[in-house]
C-alpha cells in the first residue's frame, strides 16, 4: 500500500503518539472517568491505523504485524477470561470482584474493574488493527 504526501506523513507522525497515549489514559482511568476498555482500545487502534494509512506499508512487514496483532488479541481476551475464572475459583461465582475495593476515586480502586478494562482494551485495539490489516492484504492479493 502506498503512502500519502510528505505533509500528511509528518503530521501523522506528530499526532500518533498523542492519540496513543490518550487511548491508554482512557483505558487506565476507565473506572474513574468516562470511557473504558472499548473506547480506549478503539482510540489506540486509531493511532496505528493512522500511521499505516499515512505512511504506507511493506507487504512483508505487515505479515509480521498480523501475527503480532493476532497474538495480542488472544492475550487480551485470555486475560479477561482468566479474571472471570479466578473469581469462580476463589469465591463462589463467575466474575467475583475478588480484589479489595480500595478508596473510591483512587487510581487503585474498584478491584478487578481496571484489570478487565486493560484486557478489553488490548483485545479491541488488536482486533481493529487486525481487521484493517486484513483489508490491506486482500487488496494486494487481487492486484497481483
Amino acid at each position: 500500500m502506498k503512502g500519502m504526501t510528505e505533509i500528511v506523513r509528518t503530521i501523522s507522525r506528530l499526532l500518533a503518539g498523542l492519540i496513543f497515549f490518550y487511548g491508554v489514559y482512557i483505558v487506565l482511568f476507565g473506572h474513574l472517568t468516562p470511557g473504558g476498555g472499548f473506547a480506549g482500545g478503539v482510540i489506540i487502534s486509531g493511532a496505528f491505523i493512522l500511521l499505516i494509512v499515512a505512511n504506507g506499508v511493506d507487504d512483508e512487514k505487515i505479515k509480521g504485524e498480523k501475527e503480532r496483532a493476532g497474538f495480542l488479541e488472544s492475550l487480551g481476551i485470555f486475560l479477561f477470561w482468566i479474571i472471570a475464572i479466578i473469581g469462580l475459583c476463589t469465591g463462589t461465582f463467575f466474575f467475583l470482584n475478588f480484589l479489595g475495593k480500595g478508596r473510591p476515586l483512587n487510581m487503585f480502586s474498584a478491584g478487578t474493574i481496571p484489570l478487565c478494562n486493560i484486557g478489553v482494551g488490548i483485545e479491541v485495539s488488536a482486533a481493529l488493527c487486525s481487521i484493517v490489516i486484513a483489508f490491506i492484504l486482500v487488496k494486494k492479493g487481487e492486484n497481483k
Binding site: H31, A39, I49, V53, A84, S109, A110, T112, V120, E123
Partner: protein, 176 residues
C-alpha cells in the same frame, strides 16, 4: 434542550434520506457521517459521555474505511432497473406503515414521560454501585461488574468477527 434534540433528529433523518437517494457514493457516505456524528451530539446532550466517546471514535473509523474502499473501487451507484419490484416494495411499505401507526398510536399514550424511567433496577445501581464495586464511574461498574457477562460476550463476538474476516479474506483458496 428538547428543541435541540428534535432539530438534531430532523438533521439525522435528512442525512439518512440523502444517503439513500444520492447517486454519488462519496456523498452518500458523508451523509451517513451526519447520522453518526448527530448521534454523538444527542448522546452528549442526554449526558452519556461514555457512549459519546465510543460513538465518535467508531464513526470516524468506519467513515475512513468506507471512504478508502470507495476511492479504490467505484464512485457511482449500480444502476437498478425500475420494475415491478419497486411497485411491490412501495405497496408493502405503505401497508406496513399503516399497521405500525395503528399499533404505535395505542402504545405512545402509555409510555412514561421523557427522561422518567420506570425500571427499578437502575435505582439500585445508582444507590449501591459505588459502595459495592468502588468504581467512581458507574457505567464501568455496571458493564464490568454487575453485567460482566454481557461484556464478555461482546468481547467474544469481536474476537469471532476477526476470525471470520481472516477466514473469508485469506489470500489462497482451498484447492479442489
Amino acid at each position: 434542550m428538547f428543541i435541540i434534540l428534535i432539530l438534531l433528529m430532523i438533521l439525522m433523518i435528512t442525512g439518512a434520506i440523502v444517503a439513500i437517494q444520492s447517486k454519488d457514493l462519496l456523498s452518500a457516505v458523508i451523509s451517513m457521517g451526519i447520522v453518526g456524528f448527530g448521534l454523538t451530539l444527542v448522546f452528549l446532550i442526554l449526558q452519556a459521555p461514555d457512549l459519546a466517546i465510543v460513538q465518535i471514535v467508531v464513526e470516524t473509523l468506519t467513515l475512513i474505511i468506507l471512504i478508502a474502499a470507495i476511492l479504490k473501487t467505484t464512485m457511482k451507484e449500480c444502476k437498478v432497473k425500475k420494475s415491478a419490484v419497486v411497485i411491490y416494495s412501495g405497496i408493502a411499505t405503505v401497508v406496513l406503515l399503516i399497521v405500525l401507526l395503528f399499533i404505535l398510536g395505542d402504545t405512545f399514550e402509555r409510555l412514561p414521560d421523557f427522561g422518567c424511567s420506570t425500571l427499578r433496577m437502575s435505582e439500585y445501581y445508582l444507590e449501591q454501585g459505588l459502595k459495592k464495586t468502588g468504581a467512581a464511574n458507574l457505567v464501568a461498574s455496571v458493564i464490568l461488574d454487575f453485567r460482566a457477562y454481557d461484556t464478555l460476550g461482546e468481547a467474544t463476538v469481536l474476537f469471532t468477527a476477526v476470525m471470520g474476516i481472516w477466514a473469508v479474506l485469506r489470500r489462497k483458496g482451498r484447492k479442489k
